[in-house]
């Protein structure tokens, strides 16, 4: 029974963890600009993230090592330091974008500029991390995150042509604006295969004291949780494709994205969009803030754990305090949250190789995973993802300039 509850909570958490400001922004943009044409990118990203999350959890359960600890131990401090630096920079920008997303949600409802909300939101975020435990944070965000199921409901209510939706699963050539099409495709994959997710997930598994008995639980959470999360993103893309695309509305701001739910559900839809944006971004901001502290503490060998009192792991707590404050300053400065999100998603795609290559080694090293090594399917998928990651890394920034 306990395991069933853990799986259910894990799946809920995965839905919350899957969706963030990047997934919302890129799905809405893709649907508005290209109709159903980019569904394949969503499917591709989902397959990649499902395999990698499953491996992160299996590594933690089998070796009791977080991903960061295993990389540092297996590849040496020099390699880990490079990985750590790029991850910290991207996490910093992602955190700023997530805080921006929460503030935009508050702006939508109140009309007060998002910049006024940045410091109160950052303070509340910090307070929850300071006072809360890992389970409290994960479970409350997971349950509140269910509001995002409204995107799935919207996709059904707007009555899309399901055969066209299905046709979107097959990769296609852009009918117009190729550079923008490819840029959005790369951003979708970058948003879904967020590097922070793997470090956070494995740290959470170690913190929750997973052992080899959790291998099956981990698999169920990764597959079902990521699958559900993907369906929510797909719901938003489909709704945007039906509501915004025929009217020629491109999503250049969250004001435009909000209209996706206004058409099918009226005023309630507007409020639910703001709630979905605010809750998912807040949940993701908690995870990214914690992730910064996890990887920093694991890099320097400090004591770490969200479930401990801040006085017991002062440097860990100080890390998330500092990064939340600095990230919020980026938003106070007035950077457009949507533009920052899209830039950061492309950057996430660009750093994927350095994050993903270690999976191939670690998940085949019996000293870490014992008999739970990768099978040929998992290895084939990792090799494919590594290849894809290199392609994305090469094209992400040029596409940012050409089509972003």
């Amino acid at each position: 029974m306990k395991k069933i509850i853990q799986v259910a909570l894990g799946i809920l958490t995965s839905i919350g963890g899957f969706l963030d400001v990047g997934a919302i922004a890129t799905s809405a943009q893709a649907g508005a600009a290209f109709g159903f044409e980019l569904i394949w990118a969503l499917v591709l990203g989902t397959v990649c993230v499902t395999f990698l999350v499953e491996m992160s959890g299996r590594l933690a359960a089998a070796s009791k090592h977080t991903l960061a600890e295993a990389v540092r131990e297996r590849f040496g401090a020099k390699f880990y330091f490079i990985q750590y630096i790029v991850e910290v920079v991207v996490d910093f920008l992602v955190l700023a974008a997530e805080i921006g997303g929460v503030c935009i949600a508050l702006q939508l409802v109140t009309g007060l500029s998002y910049r006024w909300w940045v410091l109160p939101v950052a303070f509340f975020l910090w307070l929850l991390l300071w006072k809360g435990t890992f389970d409290l944070i994960e479970n409350s965000v997971a349950i509140l995150g269910l509001v995002t199921l409204v995107f799935v409901a919207a996709a059904v209510v707007v009555k899309p042509d399901w055969s066209s939706v299905l046709a979107g699963v097959v990769p296609s050539v852009a009918r117009h604006d190729t550079a923008h099409y490819l840029f959005i495709a790369v951003s979708i994959v970058g948003a879904l295969v967020s590097p922070y997710l793997f470090f956070f997930y494995s740290s959470g598994a170690v913190e929750s004291k997973w052992d080899r008995e959790y291998i099956g639980v981990n698999r169920a959470i990764a597959v079902v949780g990521m699958g559900f999360g993907s369906i929510v993103s797909l719901g938003l893309l489909v709704a945007a494709a039906v509501v915004l695309h025929p009217r020629g509305i491109q999503v250049d701001s969250y004001n435009q994205a909000a209209l996706t739910l206004v058409q099918p559900f009226g005023f309630i839809g507007f409020l639910l969009f703001a709630a979905s944006l605010g809750i998912t971004c807040f949940g993701a901001a908690l995870e990214v803030g914690l992730d910064q502290a996890y990887i920093t503490a694991q890099a320097f060998g400090w004591r770490w754990g969200e479930s401990q009192k801040p006085s017991k792991d002062a440097r860990f707590s100080m890390t998330y305090t500092v990064v939340i404050f600095l990230s919020s300053l980026l938003m106070v400065a007035g950077i457009d949250p949507l533009q920052l999100t899209l830039f950061t998603m492309a950057l996430s795609a660009a750093i994927l190789p350095i994050v993903i290559v270690p999976f191939l080694v670690l998940m085949n090293d019996e000293r870490y995973v014992g008999k739970y090594r990768n099978g040929w399917i998992s290895n084939a998928v990792v090799i494919f993802i590594i290849g894809l990651a290199f392609v994305l890394a090469i094209v992400a920034l040029p596409l940012e300039i050409l089509g972003g």
Partner: protein, 142 residues
């Protein structure tokens, strides 16, 4: 090999980013943005008139659309007319009408004049149709 490929891609990207755009390219880049902002203003105003979105949001969204359209229209107005001066003049006139229609709606929403807005939305719709036709003539599709 890989480093060279990356350098070439960056160079190409930078060159295309820094290169001088022709008036035709500028029109192709700006027109879809104007059409998108006009369509946004249309849908926001329609939703506001039927009580589907709050006042603060409608004000914000309309002002933002208005400002974006204004910037784009200014940019296009400053372009040289080129070989087809008649089409260019007609385009600018239509754009100015779209801009004016959005400004009217924005003012009405600010004043809370819910009964006036549907007629203004219809007028904006007509201007959008006319603009779409000209965009089609110029080979700019949404």
């Amino acid at each position: 090999m890989l480093a060279r490929a990356i350098s070439v891609l960056f160079a190409l990207a930078l060159l295309s980013g820094c290169g001088q755009q022709s008036p035709q390219d500028t029109i192709k880049a700006e027109l879809p943005s104007i059409q998108s902002n006009a369509a946004t203003a249309h849908l926001v105003a329609e939703s506001w008139a039927s009580g589907k979105v709050p006042d603060a949001y409608a004000n914000n969204a309309l002002q933002s659309a208005q400002s974006e359209v204004k910037t784009s229209v200014q940019k296009l107005s400053s372009l040289p007319a080129g070989s087809d001066a008649e089409v260019h003049r007609s385009l600018i006139q239509h754009l100015q009408r779209v801009q004016a229609a959005i400004e009217q709606i924005s003012t009405s929403v600010q004043k809370g004049e819910r009964t006036v807005v549907p007629a203004q939305v219809k007028q904006l719709g007509d201007e959008q149709d006319a603009l779409d036709k000209i965009a089609g003539q110029l080979g700019v599709g949404q």
